[in-house]
Amino acid sequence: MATMPDSFFSWVVFLLNEYGGVLIQGAGVTLLLALVGTFIGCVIGLAVGIVQTIPEDPNAGCFKNSLIRGVKAVLSSYVEIFRGTPMIVQAMVVYYGAMSLFDIDMSAMFAGFLVVSINTGAYMAETVRGGIESIDAGQREAAVAIGMDHFQTMRFVVLPQALRNIMPQIGNNLIINIKDTSVLNVISVTELYFASKSAAGVYYRYFEIFFITCIIYFIMTFTASRILRWLESKMDGPKDYQLVEYDPMADPCGHFQVTNKKGR
């Protein structure tokens, strides 16, 4: 065996050589969990948020309205429960609960995806609801007035604007998920934190390993944040527009005075 390193940096270099691969693999798992979890969470959040903003239709039957109300109640308890408990506890409950209650031995990784997605979904549902409600009522009315139904109004007018407005929160959720998937180490998901802890235990070099881990986390979150910024600016489209011709009616010469009567 080679001589052991004797300074902080030589330890870092040594551990990087020895465990770099393991850490990168852990980082890969972390990223995968965060990306998939955020994506599925957004889909869940979108669906829940849309249902929660369905207005009551006075022309619809009593049955339809109470059905909608029932579904809304179930969805809002989902949101409250998953926002109101720590993800680390949810991971334990889901993983071990599935095993003892339903005899399902899901893989730790699957439980991880499940917990991150459902947890993100609960947060996103509120974000989406807020995003939808922040869109001026006039937008919705104009869509309804040209004959769109609720679904079309959402799909073509409200959601595109709401989604643009909540992009920063989606990014925020992704960054939170990159960091918070570390709690999944309690059910032995081999993400970055779990990998680091294992690696650190071998030589008892906790500081050096977690120094490296820290940098890896930061690179991931920083890159994610930059990419999202870029995406946002892409969504905004061009800052100016091409005039196809001159506007003949924009005449700044004051009030219109009708002088001759219509000839009808």
């Binding site: 006075p58 022309n59 001026d136 006039g138 937008q139 009315e141 104009a142 869509a143 309804v144 007035a145 040209i146 004959g147 769109m148 139904d149 079309q152 073509f156 007018v157 595109p160 604007q161 643009r164 489209g237 100016d240 527009y241 091409q242 005039l243 196809v244 011709e245 001159y246 506007d247 003949p248 009616m249 924009a250 005449d251 700044p252 010469c253 004051g254 009030h255 219109f256 005075q257 009708v258 002088t259 009567k261 219509k262 000839g263 009808r264």
Partner: protein, 249 residues
């Protein structure tokens, strides 16, 4: 004049918000080719009335009939009715996520099911009509108020409605932009488009409309030809209201 064709008929329309009755039984008819101007003090229920006509507000009581048929019974889905009865808002309400052209196409494609080529041609026709054809690539926030309202008119016209409802189309505009929008409205009136217009532009109501309805405290206080209502109003409240406007005949 030939036999008039009844297009819209509002019968004993009532609307309550909570305990407050805003519309207390309003009736009037709109014939094909009519330009009906609705005037009245602010808070009298004009917006509520015009919003009830295309069911943006749910009437508490009364009947809205289109071509002689009760809308709520005939049109199982209101969307179809709404494509026949266009609406122009005080605040324009252009779709912020779409360009001018897309604003005028989306209803044709998604609601009427037209193909994009046809929809584009129709949209261009009406955008040219309101003098906005050169701005097809602009987003609403890049336009002035008057331009936005002209696009909003083109968006409504692109569905080729039978009636156009307008709720104070020039009230949110800077004074120097009012003229361009009124000019478009006058042109549409001259072409024979049926319109119901809530307005405070008394010169426009006097010179362009075929009938004027004065609404006060949720009832029709007076309804007559523009000549009569502006030169010899019968109702005292109409007199008081009109005296506030300097019509400078």
């Amino acid at each position: 004049m030939a036999e008039k064709e009844l297009l819209l008929s509002v019968q004993d329309l009532k609307k309550q918000f909570g305990e407050r009755e805003i519309l207390k039984g309003i009736s009037f008819n709109v014939n094909k080719g009519d330009v009906v101007c609705i005037i009245g003090p602010s808070g009298s229920g004009k917006s509520t009335l015009i919003r009830c006509v295309n069911f943006l507000e749910q009437p508490t009581d009364g009947v809205i009939a289109y071509c002689g048929k009760n809308v709520l019974e005939t049109f199982k889905n209101l969307p179809l009715y709404r494509t026949k009865v266009g609406m122009v808002f005080q605040q324009f309400n252009l779709f912020n996520n779409m360009t001018v052209l897309e604003n005028c196409m989306v209803g044709q494609v998604k609601v009427l099911g037209k193909d994009k080529e046809t929809a584009r041609n129709t949209a261009m026709k009406y955008l040219e009509h309101v003098g906005m054809a050169s701005y097809i690539n602009a987003k609403p926030h890049q336009l002035s108020g008057g331009q936005k309202q002209r696009v909003a008119i083109a968006r409504a016209l692109a569905l080729e409605p039978e009636v156009l409802l307008m709720d104070e189309p020039t009230s949110a505009l800077d004074p120097e932009m009012v003229g361009e929008v009124l000019a478009v409205m006058k042109e549409l009136a001259d072409e024979g488009l049926t319109m119901v217009i809530v307005t405070h532009e008394m010169a426009f109501a006097r010179d362009v409309s075929s009938r004027v309805i004065f609404i006060d405290q949720g009832v029709v206080a007076e309804e007559s030809s523009p000549e009569e209502i502006f030169s010899a109003p019968k109702n005292q409240r109409t007199k008081d209201f009109l005296s506030r406007f300097n019509l400078g005949k």
